[in-house]
């Protein structure tokens, strides 16, 4: 209690560290030892058992038919996901529309395409494309605006895109719808009060915020799509990765190593997708977090800097 009152009494006090013996975890050490033992056995078997055919895998992994197959698989994945996402957004908006015709159409689409196996859909598309040798766009029973000979398209690839893309759209629309519904109603209200139309509100206010909810499951969908492309054998589209790998395996009477080879490629591709997903999620977290968490690269940089300074 000094006579001259201090300017600010809210001064922090000293901060002595807590000194305590940390808890020991013997169970963790035993568990880790057991896991390490099994791991070592697995690695030993992988390296020494000739049935895995590592040399064969090494020989074929970058061979032209396989690399081309990887290219087709990537192209199928990307294009199907684009179709799925764009059509999915359209279907979700239709589903939330007050117009019963739009709403009902969307419901019917989702019902049909989610309710049947994608393998069966691929098979059906292949047959439908074979049935219709020309595609025309016009008024039903009226004039046609343009016609397209399906033989000029690459039928198998188009069938694969239709099968994968439309099926995906049914799933994506539900993901997008959940995303739209997750956005606070006050957002739409504020945008409407500014004089925005329903579409402007969706595009500038609601969808960008819905993305935060939409992106993680879309990442899963993309990874899942990458693997689902192996089903286009139902058409059959033969240039894709797994078909090529199996064909080579059958020819060499070594199907097993070739399946491993395909798995290695799928794992490599999904790993790349996971990295991409991380950065996209981070991008859409803007505004939802006070500060974005550091990327792994930033974390490493910081560690190095601290290490250098200390």
């Amino acid at each position: 209690m000094s006579t001259d009152a201090p300017e600010d009494v809210a001064q922090p006090r000293e901060k002595p560290p807590i000194e305590a013996v940390p808890v020991r975890h013997p169970g963790r050490w035993v568990g880790a030892a057991i896991v390490a033992l099994f791991g070592a056995m697995l690695v030993h078997s992988l390296l020494t058992n000739p049935n895995w055919g590592w040399s064969l895998i090494g020989e074929w992994i970058f061979s032209p038919p396989i690399v081309r197959g990887v290219g087709v698989t990537i192209l199928l994945t990307v294009l199907s996901m684009i179709i799925g996402l764009v059509l999915g957004i359209v279907l979700a908006i239709m589903r939330l529309s007050p117009n019963p015709v739009l709403n009902g159409t969307s419901w019917l689409f989702i019902w049909a395409f989610r309710g049947t196996p994608v393998y069966v859909q691929l098979f059906l598309w292949a047959n439908i494309i074979a049935l219709y040798t020309t595609i025309s766009l016009g008024v039903p029973f009226g004039p046609e605006f343009f016609t397209l000979d399906t033989k000029t398209l690459i039928p198998a690839f188009v069938a694969a895109l239709l099968g994968l893309g439309l099926n995906e759209a049914a799933y994506m629309s539900e993901i997008v719808r959940a995303g739209i519904l997750s956005v606070d109603e006050g957002q739409e209200e504020a945008a409407t009060a500014l004089g925005m139309s329903r579409m402007q509100t969706l595009r500038h206010i609601v969808l960008p915020q819905a993305m935060r909810v939409i992106v993680p499951p879309t990442g899963n969908e993309t990874i899942s799509m990458l693997k689902t492309t192996s089903l286009v054998i139902a058409i059959p589209l033969t240039t894709e990765l797994f078909f090529q790998a199996s064909a080579i395996g059958n020819r060499l009477f070594q199907p097993f190593p070739m399946a491993i080879l395909a798995s290695i490629w799928y794992l490599a591709l999904t790993s790349v997708l996971m990295v991409g997903q991380y950065y996209i999620e981070r991008h859409y977290a803007k505004g939802a977090m006070r500060e974005l968490p550091p990327t792994p690269i930033q974390k490493w940089r910081r560690k190095l800097h601290l290490g250098g300074a200390a």
């Binding site: 006050g186 504020a190 009060a193 500014l194 004089g195 139309s197 500038h204 505004g287 977090m289």
Partner: protein, 256 residues
């Protein structure tokens, strides 16, 4: 006072949600440049009335007009026609609204929030809109926070951004729905200051609030809305000094 033109005119406005009659015949007349404050118990229909004024809600019966133009309807040869969504959106442009929970767009910075209306709705040039946004933020005392996201701002700052956002559309009528109710007591003053200055600049304002002090100092009109009707209305100092009904007396006893 009475020579000023009528800005907002409500005549026997009714609104029900299902069987819940929320507005049961509201009458109110607000002249250009006036500040009308609305008080009343929770659930009395204050927010609903504000939302009817910019047609966020459709009224069931009665007439509601701004600048002599019916809200949401067109009158041609004695017949009423419902307005197209586009025309309603156009009417809303000149009516700004500020919400209790701010409703800032969290994925945009403060400046982007403010310029968003002009750029999207009026298709203003982005660069000019941004300059204007910074200027408006300056007016609400946030000239240096243009690049902050709403999450990085205090409640009082967020509400001031929300006011700037509404002002960016150059409205000539501003609606405030309990703009300070979600704020810590020490932040209420900064928002009320901005509103007071806005009132002094001649803006017509309708303010739902529990800040009786603000109503007394700034308000030209004070309405007590209870159970969906305007129970008492008049010059704020006058009606606060002699509340007529028991309900109003009880209500004032609770908020003062």
């Amino acid at each position: 006072m009475s020579e000023k033109p009528v800005k907002v005119l409500a005549e026997n406005v009714h609104k029900a949600y299902g069987r819940n009659e929320v507005l049961r015949g509201i009458d109110m007349e607000i002249r250009t440049g006036e500040v009308a404050c609305i008080i009343g118990p929770s659930g009395g229909g204050k927010s609903t009335f504000l939302r009817c004024i910019n047609h966020l809600e459709k009224i069931d019966s009665g007439r509601l007009s701004v600048d002599g133009e019916l809200i949401g309807y067109k009158q041609r040869s004695g017949k009423l026609y419902e307005m197209h969504d586009k025309e309603v959106a156009e009417q809303r442009r000149s009516i700004g609204m500020v919400f209790q929970r701010f409703n800032l767009f969290p994925h945009m910075t403060a400046a982007e929030n403010v310029m968003c209306g002009p750029v999207v709705v009026r298709r203003d040039n982005k660069k000019i809109a941004r300059e204007r946004a910074i200027e408006l933020l300056g007016k609400v005392g946030l000239g240096d926070r243009g690049d902050s996201y709403p999450m990085q701002l205090s409640g009082g700052q967020q509400q001031r951004v929300a006011i700037a956002r509404a002002l960016a559309m150059d409205p000539d009528l501003m609606l405030f729905d309990e703009p300070t109710s979600a704020l810590d007591p020490e932040l209420v003053g900064e928002v009320l200051d901005v509103m007071r200055r806005l009132a002094e600049s001649g803006m017509t304002m309708i303010v739902v609030t529990h800040e009786i002090g603000f109503a007394r100092q700034v308000g030209d009109l004070l309405a007590f809305i209870d159970k969906g009707v305007v129970a008492e209305i008049g010059e704020p100092r006058e009606i606060l000094a002699n509340p007529q009904s028991k309900r109003f007396q009880d209500f004032l006893g609770k908020v003062l």
